[in-house]
């Protein structure tokens, strides 16, 4: 335990100043890791980027619309908490809409989910620049979101994400198997009595809400990174999605803490440090997995079962 105290020691003097931000950042990472496993298993990584980008565009829309709405209501300029709250609400709305638009399935949808995801990403990126091209403050806000500065998070943000993390964990535990079934085989999910479209929209709503709430607090880089990278690490470490669903949040939480310590000691921005650490762990765990697989395969050769019939086709490549 001494080494933990030694490692976390440097954070103590700055806790009063940055404690809320660190807590909020760690909880955001925890919340994002679970939907990240589902996105990764369904090979929809880019949905995370598109939803995060749409959320950023939502902030831009909020910052553009608020002065117009305030002028029409003869309230003069609106600044501070009200402006932040309005922008955050727009971010959540945009993220939810983007997640719903990119979800697979739906009879009225046109094109593949990938093409819709690409469209959402590009449209959102372009709109967020165009809307704030003549607003120095707004452009600065978007640049801040893209660069990800976790340190602006408040105690209220930490509390909000504590609630979201709790709900995510409870929901994940209750619906774990059904979530996995929807991921592995949606057809069978229908056969097992699950209403596929409702589950698809539910997953999209969950992803949109978490990303939408997280973007104004932590920014694009942190949100997209924490959505995808812990899930990639967990996939390298675990053979089953069930395990990935709890390993990914643990990795996200631990890595975020380590990243914040390094960032504080070196006086670097925390979000890029966390993402760099996570990104570094991906090839490392991949190597570990390869090493473990080769050792395991040598020790226990995967013999065919006695009843295994001869195959006329070659086994599928892994």
């Amino acid at each position: 335990m001494e080494w933990i105290a030694h490692f976390l020691g440097p954070l103590a003097p700055a806790w009063e100043l940055f404690g809320d931000a660190w807590c909020a950042g760690a909880l955001v990472a925890l919340c994002l890791a679970v939907p990240g496993v589902i996105c990764l298993a369904r090979e929809q990584i880019f949905i995370g980027a598109a939803v995060a980008q749409a959320s950023t565009a939502g902030v831009a829309v909020g910052l553009t619309l608020l002065p117009v709405l305030a002028a029409s209501a003869s309230q003069g300029h609106v600044h501070g908490a009200r402006q932040q709250a309005f922008a955050a609400a727009c971010a959540v709305l945009a993220a939810v809409l983007a997640a719903l638009a990119t979800t697979p399935g739906g009879r009225l949808r046109r094109g593949s989910p990938e093409s819709r995801t690409g469209w959402v990403f590009l449209f959102s990126a372009a709109v967020s620049i165009l809307l704030l091209v003549n607003s120095p403050h707004g452009a600065h806000e978007i640049a801040r979101l893209v660069a990800s500065s976790v340190l602006g998070a408040t105690a209220g943000d930490a509390l909000l994400f504590a609630v979201v993390a709790g709900l995510t964990m409870v929901g994940g535990c209750i619906a774990r198997d059904r979530l996995i079934l929807m991921t592995i085989d949606p057809n069978w999910a229908g056969l097992a009595g699950m209403r596929r479209s409702r589950w698809e929209y539910g997953i999209a709503l969950w992803l949109g809400l978490v990303c939408g709430l997280a973007i104004p607090v932590t920014g694009f880089l942190f949100v997209f990174g924490c959505l995808v990278l812990p899930a990639m690490i967990a996939r390298n470490l675990c053979r089953e999605i069930r395990r990935q669903l709890w390993v990914a949040p643990v990795i996200a939480l631990l890595t975020t803490i380590v990243g914040f310590v390094i960032a504080h000691q070196q006086d670097w921005p925390p979000a890029p440090v966390v993402i760099t650490v996570l990104a570094g762990l991906v090839p490392l765990t991949w190597l570990l997995d390869q090493l473990f697989s080769s050792v395991f395969t040598r020790a226990v050769p995967p013999s065919k079962t006695p009843s295994e019939p001869p195959q006329k086709h070659k086994p599928d490549a892994p």
Partner: protein
């Protein structure tokens, strides 16, 4: 495929009558394009039906309608209410592909077949163990699904269907990728399972010989119509089938 109770469940059907599926003058269409017209058939408990026909003859459309994916444009298509309520339906699809980067094991995949089934944890575990043993999958329990051959994967998907102990098993060209010994082993496993509980089987196939060997009835899909007939069973087959039902 979503089980739509609006189109699927037939309130008048019950196990006491022994009727599992009923179709009366059913017309199935995609928009204005009619695929099947005036389909009439009745499937009783324990019967094994072969759905025969060329590609595009409407076999899969009929299965989709049965699963509630397509609503009949006309007629009545019903499935036994008890089957839907107890989730006693198993499906082995034609394609057993998983996303190439998806990481899951045989155990996890088969275990997911129990979702929606009744029973406590111990019952479910014993079902899982028994099914794995019966299909010779015990050695593959912790294997990554991506490392299995096509035949092994097919058996895993059969295990996922059988672990539900289904009253109705739908096999959509399940042995298309298997050779003859693999095919025989596949159907031997189903026969062993149907001996425990009267299981009705719908087998979609092109193989007349397989239909003759394994099924009691056949429905031939051709030209948008369906022709149903009993299959003449050999004395040996009759004895085997009677033994399974007992």
């Amino acid at each position: 495929m979503t089980l739509s109770t609006r189109t699927l469940v037939h309130p008048d059907l019950s196990t006491t009558h022994g009727v599992i599926i009923i179709a009366r003058a059913v017309r199935l269409a995609y928009g204005a394009h009619t695929i099947l017209d005036d389909v009439t058939l009745t499937v009783h408990s324990g019967e094994r039906w072969a759905l025969l026909g060329r590609n595009g003859s409407g076999k899969s459309t009929f299965i989709n309608a049965l699963m509630g994916e397509i609503a009949p444009a006309a007629g009545v298509l019903g499935i036994n209410r008890d089957l839907v309520l107890t989730d006693g339906i198993g499906l082995v699809p034609q394609r057993v592909d998983l996303p190439p980067y998806l990481r899951t094991t045989v155990r996890e995949c088969v275990d997911l077949g129990l979702i929606g089934c009744e029973g406590n944890r111990a019952t479910r575990r014993s079902r899982l163990t028994a099914t794995m043993q019966k299909l010779g999958l015990n050695d593959l329990l912790h294997r990554d699904m991506r490392t299995l051959s096509g035949g092994q994967r097919q058996r895993v998907f059969l295990a996922r269907a059988l672990v539900r102990e289904p009253r109705l098993l739908i096999l959509d060209e399940p042995t298309a990728a298997l050779d003859r010994p693999g095919e025989e082993q596949f159907f031997a496993a189903i026969t062993a399972q149907s001996g425990i509980r009267a299981m009705t089987i719908l087998l979609v196939t092109h193989d007349q010989q397989l239909a003759q060997q394994f099924c009691t009835h056949r429905a031939v899909f051709a030209g948008g119509a369906v022709c149903c007939e009993n299959i003449e069973l050999s004395a040996k087959q009759r004895i085997e089938l009677a033994g399974e039902r007992l």
